[in-house]
């Protein structure tokens, strides 16, 4: 009797809560660190990128309008789902990054903990960076952070899972929606993350995952008039400059690539980079001339 033949997975994009193949019908070969074939990943086109923006925009109202408490629970639910699928991700990360099983397991643990960390931020960030301002006049005013909108995220190229989650979670924790370009060389953990998100109460369109050639997909996103911000983490210097110039066209918020140790506990910069501050004013009343009761 021969060994059982393994069932391969057809990896697909995650857009608008669904799992389409690339509109272009293209795939590209993904190999492990030793060059062995792992899968044929979808090679997204410009049209896929535009579809993802439409989905992200559609999801923005509901996601940004959800209570912070609710968003926190949804994010925590993602961590729960990840925990249950740990083995799959350990294998995928080990393959993608050439890590031993135990090192890959440590990366996956850290990644799940990162989700939990951001899940706890959703209902605290406003208190930490917003608040009442002591105006010199008869006015009350309050500054609150608000999500900037649709954020294009170029996931880091090397850290296929921890790096990916470290750039996606802060974007959506604060109420933005995301179009994420997976690591070009190692997209499989990102595509599998889409499956987790789909089963985690994250509304369709809040996170959209594309795989393919980073430069090809990023160009239309950087130039897209309905994208509000772009995280260039996964761009090399030359591409980053080109995309930043394109992003100037509608004054996107740009987070430039920087050296990040994704193992370290992050600061709040990845969240604040994609937040606006809204200050709402109102006159304060007077209780009148009698002045006795207070």
């Amino acid at each position: 009797m021969s060994d059982r033949l393994r069932v391969f997975k057809t990896y697909k994009l995650y857009v608008g809560g669904k799992f389409p193949r690339s509109e272009s019908g293209r795939v590209y070969e993904v190999t492990d660190s030793k060059g062995n074939w792992l899968a044929n990943a979808p090679q997204s086109s410009r049209k896929d990128a535009r579809d993802a923006v439409v989905a992200a925009r559609k999801a923005f109202g509901g996601w940004s309008g959800a209570t912070a408490y609710n968003r926190g629970q949804v994010l925590y639910r993602v961590a729960e789902m990840l925990e249950g699928r740990k083995e799959q991700f350990v294998r995928e990360v080990a393959d993608a990054e050439g890590l031993s099983k135990s090192k890959a397991a440590a990366v996956v643990d850290a990644t799940i903990d990162r989700w939990v960390w951001y899940a706890g931020w959703t209902d605290k960030i406003a208190q930490v960076i917003g608040g009442a301002n002591p105006v010199a006049g008869p006015y009350f005013n309050l500054s609150s952070p608000e999500p900037t909108g649709v954020v294009a995220v170029l996931a880091p190229q090397e850290s296929s899972f921890l790096g990916l989650v470290s750039v996606v979670a802060p974007v959506i924790a604060t109420g933005n929606t995301a179009v994420v370009i997976a690591s070009e060389k190692a997209p499989l953990p990102a595509l599998s993350l889409g499956e987790v998100l789909a089963t985690s109460d994250v509304p369709g369109g809040v996170v959209n995952v594309l795989s393919g050639r980073t430069a090809e997909i990023a160009a239309p996103l950087a130039a897209h008039q309905d994208v509000n911000a772009i995280d260039l983490a996964g761009a090399d210097e030359e591409l980053a400059k080109e995309l930043e110039i394109a992003a100037a066209d509608n004054l996107k918020r740009v987070l430039r690539p920087q050296a990040v140790d994704y193992v370290e506990t992050p600061g709040i910069e990845r969240m604040t980079a994609f937040l606006e501050t809204k200050t709402v004013w109102h006159p304060t009343g007077s209780l009148g001339a009698s002045g006795s009761s207070y």
Binding site: E276, T277, V280, W281
Partner: protein
Amino acid sequence: MAFEYAPAPESRAIVDIAPSYGLFIDGEFAEAADGKVFKTVSPSTEEVLSEVAQAGAEDVDRAVKAARRAFEKWSALPGSERAKYLFRIARIIQERSRELAVLETLDNGKPIRETRDADLPLVAAHFFYYAGWADKLDHAGFGADPRPLGVAGQVIPWNFPLLMLAWKIAPALATGNTVVLKPAETTPLSALFFADICRQAGLPKGVVNILPGYGDAGAALVAHPDVNKVAFTGSTAVGKEIARTVAGTRKKLTLELGGKGANIVFDDAPIDQAVEGIVNGIFFNQGQVCCAGSRLLVQESIQDELLDSLKRRLSTLRLGDPLDKNTDIGAINSAEQLARITALAEQGEAEGAERWSPACALPESGYWFAPTLFTNVTQAHTIARDEIFGPVLSVLTFRTPDEAVAKANNTQYGLSAGIWTEKGSRILAVANKLRAGVVWSNTFNKFDPTSPFGGYKESGFGREGGRHGLEAYLDV
């Protein structure tokens, strides 16, 4: 029976404008390297006020080098010492505020009532506010030891010359940066007077450098390889150009750009207060305000009543000599700006909107534009979409709060908005949905140094004022 006002002019004797000024580099006034000069005129009379050195690329380089040299010592000073310099500056501004108000009115054309009661108090307040931060930066929420960036290149507009200078320079110095600032070519004088205030305050040489000049000097400053931080307030088009210039560099960038603010009046609004707010929203500083409430969205059921009140109120506005203390509306800042406003208003008429202005005699010399109101405006009209930056109000209507929000947000800009209603829950619901950096409810055009100000979308990024304003000048 009509009451005539007696003239109540503020004396201009308090301000002594020299016939010529140099660039302020490394604590000294100097001629431009190529010897170029330009004239600055009073917009209300077209009188030449002074001749000012015109900075070029070579001067920018000299000023950046001076700022770089000064940075080492300035950033190493204990915050408490930097704070004292800023407190000194704030105090001197208060002492000289009458002089500066008159100067600003002469050079900019805005009424003395505004420079005296709005601009100057806010200028001093900004220096006071940020002075106090200089020795408390580790409590500002950016980590235990936030560091300055280095040399800040700052380009400011002509609508609030001294206030924009304060917004830029106060947080930059408090955080330990040194600055090279380019004031606008039509309003260079108050920045040059500020250079004298730096001298009086004993500010170390090179910490503040002032380069009057045109757009080419601004472009050279923004592009200078030894500038670490760029801050710009001005038009969206120039903002985009600057964003392209700094792309691929490590320069930190903040932009305060244009707007097309919606002022939303619901049917239960207190009409008289709303009318005052509308007037303040669009006719303050002749409408030359990036956060001006230039789109009035009025609930259909009260349109007639509101417009009647508004027209009655506009008929009482007094346009004329900006130095007269009774003047509400001063001169447009420049012939160029007047031409732009005129062209856009004509386009409004050509596209079918209905134009109205109160009976209003315009002075014979200087740059003037009567307060103007357009009705029958739709969202597709140019005057409802493009920033006019002048005393021109477009009136649109709506029926439901949802429609008001949709129309208010239907713009590439996202700087300011106003809401007028007696219903608190409606204020909060609408404010929550508006995509704008500042929302004034039952008031308009209020500013305070403690309060962050800045835009969504193409109105730019970054915030000025408050704790948030420190971030732009810190390595965080």
